[in-house]
């Protein structure tokens, strides 16, 4: 098996259209910003570099390490990419990785890809880079510890965001899915953090020109520190609130008019599922029968054609 799917990629059908569109909107804005920033600050040479780096993240995810009892952990890479390549380039690289995983391997859906890119590309880049940027002038040990911790928090934040999106879509009960998701990713995140640390230590030793304070500060300003601290604080505040008393969060969402929209469609075009002028159920029953007959006929024709083709060959 060349490629093993991970469990943070939400498939199509699991998020409602509204949640999908909201996260597409955020993602489009962020990726658009990243494109214009990188176009301005980096030369044309950087585009092939980012492509190869995206392939690197993809390939590095194949390097797994045995944990225990036949399970193995593997690497997601968002924080590492953002620390080494800079936050904007990191976002673009992770967007390409998540995009190809969804498009080519169906690991994650297309309509929900905005949410997947947000969780695994944008959140991880903001947290991973911002926290590292905070301590960029500190000693080596401090930097590595913060980078590892940042990678762990980034993984947890991605899991938290995915849980919240699923819950807002009315796909899961928060009190069931959140502890499960956070529990699993607390472990996965440890592996992620340790590998990020080990990889950074290795890169710093062999190619110090790629990873120094001056380069890092040039790639992202203080705004990233503020952003990462805010996002981390939000995650830290939401998770106990959500897992401890989901009712509290539910009330917040209800007040914001979110939860209702997650469960009954607000885009109801036809009230009560009937066309006013078609009137009572007799007509719709007949229509349903006709549609059912058409489906059955279509199926029979398709299967028949296929059987015939197979016997001809």
């Amino acid at each position: 098996m060349l490629y093993a799917p991970t469990n943070l990629h939400i498939p199509d059908g699991f998020l409602t259209i509204i949640v999908s569109l909201i996260f597409w909107l955020i993602t489009i804005v962020m990726v658009g910003l990243a494109v214009s920033k990188t176009n301005k600050s980096l030369g044309e040479k950087q585009v092939p570099l980012m492509g190869v780096m995206a392939a690197f993240i993809f390939a590095a995810q194949m390097l797994n390490f045995p944990i225990a009892g036949g399970t193995s952990g593997h690497f997601l890479g968002g924080a590492l990419a953002a620390i080494v390549l800079g936050p904007w380039a990191g976002i673009l690289v992770m967007t390409a990785v998540v995009g190809v995983q969804g498009l080519l391997f169906q690991d994650g859906g297309l309509l929900v890809m905005g949410a997947n890119i947000f969780n695994m590309g944008i959140l991880t880049a903001v947290i991973g880079f911002g926290l590292y940027r905070l301590v960029v002038h500190q000693k080596r040990g401090v930097r590595l510890v913060v980078a590892g911790g940042g990678a762990w928090i980034a993984t947890m934040a991605a899991a938290l965001a995915a849980s919240l999106q699923l819950w807002l879509s009315g796909t899961t009960r928060l009190e069931i899915v959140l502890p499960a998701m956070l529990g699993v990713h607390a472990l996965i995140g440890v592996g992620e953090g340790l590998i990020t640390v080990a990889a950074l230590a290795y890169i710093e030793q062999t190619r110090p020109d790629l990873l120094n304070a001056e380069k890092t500060t040039r790639e992202g300003g203080r705004g990233w520190i503020v952003g990462s601290v805010l996002v981390t604080l939000a995650a830290v505040l939401i998770s106990p609130l959500a897992s401890g008393s989901p009712d509290g969060l539910e009330r917040v969402a209800e007040n914001l008019g979110f939860l209702g929209s997650g469960q009954d469609a607000p885009y109801q075009i036809l009230p009560d599922y009937t066309i006013p002028f078609l009137g009572e159920t007799a007509v719709s029953t007949i229509l349903a029968g006709v549609v059912g007959a058409v489906i059955l006929m279509g199926l029979l024709i398709l299967v028949g054609r296929n059987l015939r083709r197979r016997t001809e060959v």
Partner: protein
Amino acid sequence: MHVDVFDQFHFSESRVHSLDPRVKVVITVAFILSNAILPDGSWLALALAWLFLLLGNDLSNLGLGFTLKRSLIALPFALVAVSAIFSPLGEPLADWDLGFMILVPTDAGLIRFASIMLRSWLSVQIAILLVATTQFPDLIHALEHLRLPRTLTTIIAFLFRYLFVLTNEVHRIQRARKSRSARLPNVRGGGNLGWRIKTTGSMVGQLFTRSYERSDRIYQAMISRGYTGHIRTLNPHQVKSQDWLVLGISAGMLILIQLVGWIL
């Protein structure tokens, strides 16, 4: 390993294969969108959508069950949706006492769960059909025509082009680790978990520096062959009248599915 080892393309001379990639992308996204906005429990409409999908399979000459085989990839995620069965919004159907908690499946919850699974199952299949009938470079080109930023499509093209190169690199690194990791039978090899993670981290770092240096050489080589920041393709990418026809028919069928879903 060959350059297209990761491509999911299955060669065949069919009407679906010869469609313009842009048209295929638009129909795929429209189909997934259509599934997403169907109300819960609109079984007839979902059955119609399934028929639409089977028709696509049939016209692609890959066999009716082609997408079915690969469609189970999203199944592990079903676990997440299982809790929807116990939605408090509907009429309770039973009472399951598990000792530490009582689970109450409801009718609305069951309908919701089944609808999510069917939507997801259908949507995955059309995406499988898309990549099975379109070569990935053509798909990238189509995305460029559909106004995706050039920077992003170029990154994706490079990602696809060098994925197999770096996968080979991964295999080399793994072979090196294996050849240095001899152990006696029934004796636990290697160090503790921390040691293993450190080794994996060094492998990731090694892979990174090799990739980085390689990308430099690649860029020099491309410049010397006339690269101007744009990857070219020999396929003409013209939307023919046949493509418009398929687009129109598909749009009609999706509208029909929506009508059936919302009225019946």
